[in-house]
């Protein structure tokens, strides 16, 4: 069974399924969770298996329902709350940040709020300014929250199981463009511990630390760079809060160069934290200024004509690395040929969502 392959969305589904089977206190709710599309397939079949009490649709009340999830957690349940877009969860920040994140601390450690809030981020197909935000920097800023961003099917399952079993509120961020990625996923229940980054490609010339879908772009970039004999080390950060920076620091001490690739905006974004940590803790090892690849500080445009210039991709990482290592003078990237659509994850995607 070691070569059992699943898609990312199936790995999520299996993690929820196995956690619900193991623990009757686990339940899942969210808009459309039981509907025929099953949140990109991640919740398909669950209501049939566990019933409508444990697999619930809900009113369009993100803030109130987050409070409801918290309250249920305080009396023994383990809710998994699901938002089809992170943008909608902005309505629930008060309950997440003032209540869930602090309940354990402000009552002196007597109670805890074991809950997972799944938030979906994405790119492309004209989602526009209000359906495309990647705000992990906000959540990673808040003590008491854990923030997880898996990039592979294996981690998706292992990190989600660990998140559901964790006794703290965990923001579990899924990128839509990962759902159809295939990878090895063991059938048995396993955990990928929260708070550990992962070296997914070893290298000695430069460190590329990435989050979520940018990890894939980083791997593409590393492959391209390898052809030029540049050996990039790629680190999948995986857990943004609490952040374990040891692997990144170690790697930079070895390579002397750092690029951070994140799915969010640049300014006061998550990438800045990695750069700051390295500047503080591995300063003397740096051979070049660290660099951030992130979204420009600009809302998301809807038209593909602008969106294609909005999202950093492997080619941008490559160009940045080349410049840092003095191979090219600037980090300019050729415009993509117009006939390659950059607003779909793969050619099977035909919109609208």
């Amino acid at each position: 069974m070691t070569n059992r392959e699943l898609k990312f969305f199936q790995a999520i589904n299996e993690a929820i399924d196995q956690c619900m089977a193991r623990d009757a206190s686990v339940y899942i709710m969210g808009l459309g969770v039981p509907d025929p599309k099953g949140i990109f397939g991640t919740t398909l079949g669950l209501q049939q298996k566990y019933g409508s009490k444990r697999v619930m649709d809900m009113p369009l009340s993100e803030n109130g329902m987050t409070g409801v999830a918290i309250g249920s957690a305080l009396v023994g349940m383990r809710p998994v709350l699901t938002h089809q877009r992170m943008d909608f969860a902005i309505l629930s920040l008060e309950e997440i940040v003032n209540q869930a994140a602090k309940w354990h601390y402000m009552f002196g450690g007597q109670m805890s709020v074991p809950m997972v809030i799944r938030m979906i981020i994405g790119r492309g197909w004209g989602q526009g300014s209000q359906h495309s935000q990647s705000l992990q920097a906000w959540f990673a800023h808040v003590p008491g929250l854990k923030v997880v961003m898996p990039a592979t099917p294996y981690d998706a399952k292992g990190l989600l199981v660990a998140s559901i079993e964790d006794n703290n509120p965990v923001i579990f961020i899924e990128h839509r463009w990962l759902y159809n990625i295939t990878g090895h996923v063991p059938e048995e229940t396993y955990r990928v511990p929260l708070g550990q980054a992962n070296i997914i490609r070893e290298g000695s010339d430069i460190t590329i630390a990435a989050t979520s879908h940018m990890t894939l772009e980083a791997m593409h970039a590393a492959a391209i760079l390898a052809k030029e004999n540049i050996r990039a080390e790629v680190i999948d950060i995986r857990t943004l809060n609490p952040l374990d920076d040891s692997l990144i620091l170690e790697s930079v001490r070895k390579t002397g160069h750092l690029v951070v690739a994140d799915t969010g905006w640049k300014t006061v974004g998550f990438g800045g934290e990695i750069v700051a940590r390295v500047a503080e803790k591995a300063f003397s090892y740096l051979k070049s200024p660290p660099r951030r690849l992130a979204l420009p500080d600009c809302p998301t445009p809807t038209t593909p004509a602008l969106a294609k210039h909005y999202y950093p991709r492997a080619v941008h990482i490559v160009a940045t690395v080349r410049q840092m290592l003095g191979i090219s003078a600037d980090d300019a990237v050729p415009d993509e040929p117009a006939d390659v659509p950059l607003d779909v994850p793969d050619m099977t995607f035909t919109g609208p969502f």
């Binding site: 808009l31 459309g32 509907d35 025929p36 599309k37 619930m56 649709d57 809900m58 009113p59 369009l60 009340s61 803030n63 109130g64 943008d87 909608f88 309505l91 197909w125 004209g126 989602q127 526009g128 300014s129 209000q130 359906h131 420009p296 500080d297 600009c298 809302p299 445009p301 809807t302 038209t303 593909p304 004509a305 602008l306 210039h309 909005y310 415009d335 607003d343 035909t350 919109g351 609208p352 969502f353």
Partner: protein
């Protein structure tokens, strides 16, 4: 109920037909994958937009949500600019930056539509406050769906509108679903939506959203009242979305609603319904209608050609308009 002037009935029919034909054409063209943004069609719900907006003057305001094509058009929004926006072109009503979910036409008082459910309800109430503060006697209509009353933002807006007696018309298109979720999993069955608004002290009425004449007459009273300083009114219109929540297709196959449910509602098509009475009352002839249809075809095709031939925004526009000067 006052009897309806033929002119108005004709306009209502024309308005609904135009919206229907635009939407059906969008549905036909969408599979070309040149409109690369989510589209929420309102086929089947045209009567609400047409009946309400027929009572609004050009300088009254309207705002909407993700499903705004009908509201934009009924308020007088520019068709070419709307289609170009769906195609992501620089000639679009938002310069391509918005897409189907971000329509706007300030010149006719369509202040904007954005897709975060509930959010524009508060913004509409604020527009009404702004007009009152400036002693401008405009009415603001806000269009939204049945799920919107589940959002706290709706209630905060309703309370404030009632407190300040603002000239706002809350227009709720109750099409029984939120995406694929029926009302039964979202709201208690022992009360109607308009009763929730009534609880806030707002005059509230319910009507048949597939009867454009009824919509027109109920809305007229509410809008006249608001104009005279009588305060807000909440209108719930029961209606039905024929196509999938988002996208151009039917969706019986999904199984969240039955084909027969859809067919029953299609029998109650607001356009067919008015057409029949207009024909029997001799207000319109089949030839009149044929003429209307061919004029509309021409107008719509022209808009599509305009959109397709328009240029995409230039790369440097990406970083424009982040901050106003």
């Amino acid at each position: 109920m006052e009897t309806m002037k033929p002119e108005i009935l004709k306009r209502l029919y024309y308005q609904m037909l135009r919206i229907r034909m635009v939407e059906e054409r969008i549905a036909e063209l969408y599979p070309e994958q040149e409109m690369r943004c989510p589209v929420h069609l309102c086929i089947g719900q045209e009567a609400v937009a047409a009946g309400v907006c027929a009572n609004l003057s050009r300088d009254d305001y309207a705002l909407s949500n993700h499903r705004s094509h009908a509201h934009y058009l009924a308020k007088g929004g520019n068709l070419k600019a709307m289609i170009a926006e769906l195609y992501g072109k620089v000639t679009g009503c938002s310069g391509g930056k918005g897409g189907s979910m971000h329509l706007v036409d300030i010149s006719v008082g369509f202040l904007g539509a954005t897709p975060i459910v509930g959010s524009t309800v508060a913004i509409a109430v604020g527009a009404a406050l702004g007009t009152v503060m400036q002693d401008r006697h405009q009415v603001t209509a806000i269009f939204f769906g049945d799920a919107t009353v589940e959002e706290g933002a709706f209630h905060e807006s309703a309370n404030f509108a009632a407190l300040k007696k603002l000239p706002v018309i809350f227009v709720c298109e109750n099409n029984l679903y939120s995406v694929q979720s029926p009302l039964s999993v979202r709201q208690p069955g022992n009360r109607e939506i308009f009763e929730v608004a009534k609880g806030h002290g707002i005059a509230s009425y319910q009507g048949d959203g597939n009867d454009v004449v009824q919509v027109y007459q109920i809305a007229k009273r509410a809008i006249n009242r608001a104009r005279k300083g009588g305060g807000p009114t909440f209108l719930e219109f029961k209606t039905y979305r024929w196509r999938e929540h988002c996208g151009p297709n039917d969706d019986f196959n999904l199984g969240y609603r039955t084909e027969s449910e859809v067919r029953d509602w299609q029998k109650r098509c607001p356009i067919k319904r008015l057409k029949e009475s207009l024909l029997t009352d001799g207000i319109l002839s089949n030839q009149d209608i044929e003429a209307m249809i061919s004029d509309l075809k021409t107008e719509i095709e022209a808009a599509i050609v305009f959109a397709k031939e328009s240029a995409f925004p230039d790369k440097r526009m990406l970083l424009e308009h982040i901050y106003a000067l």
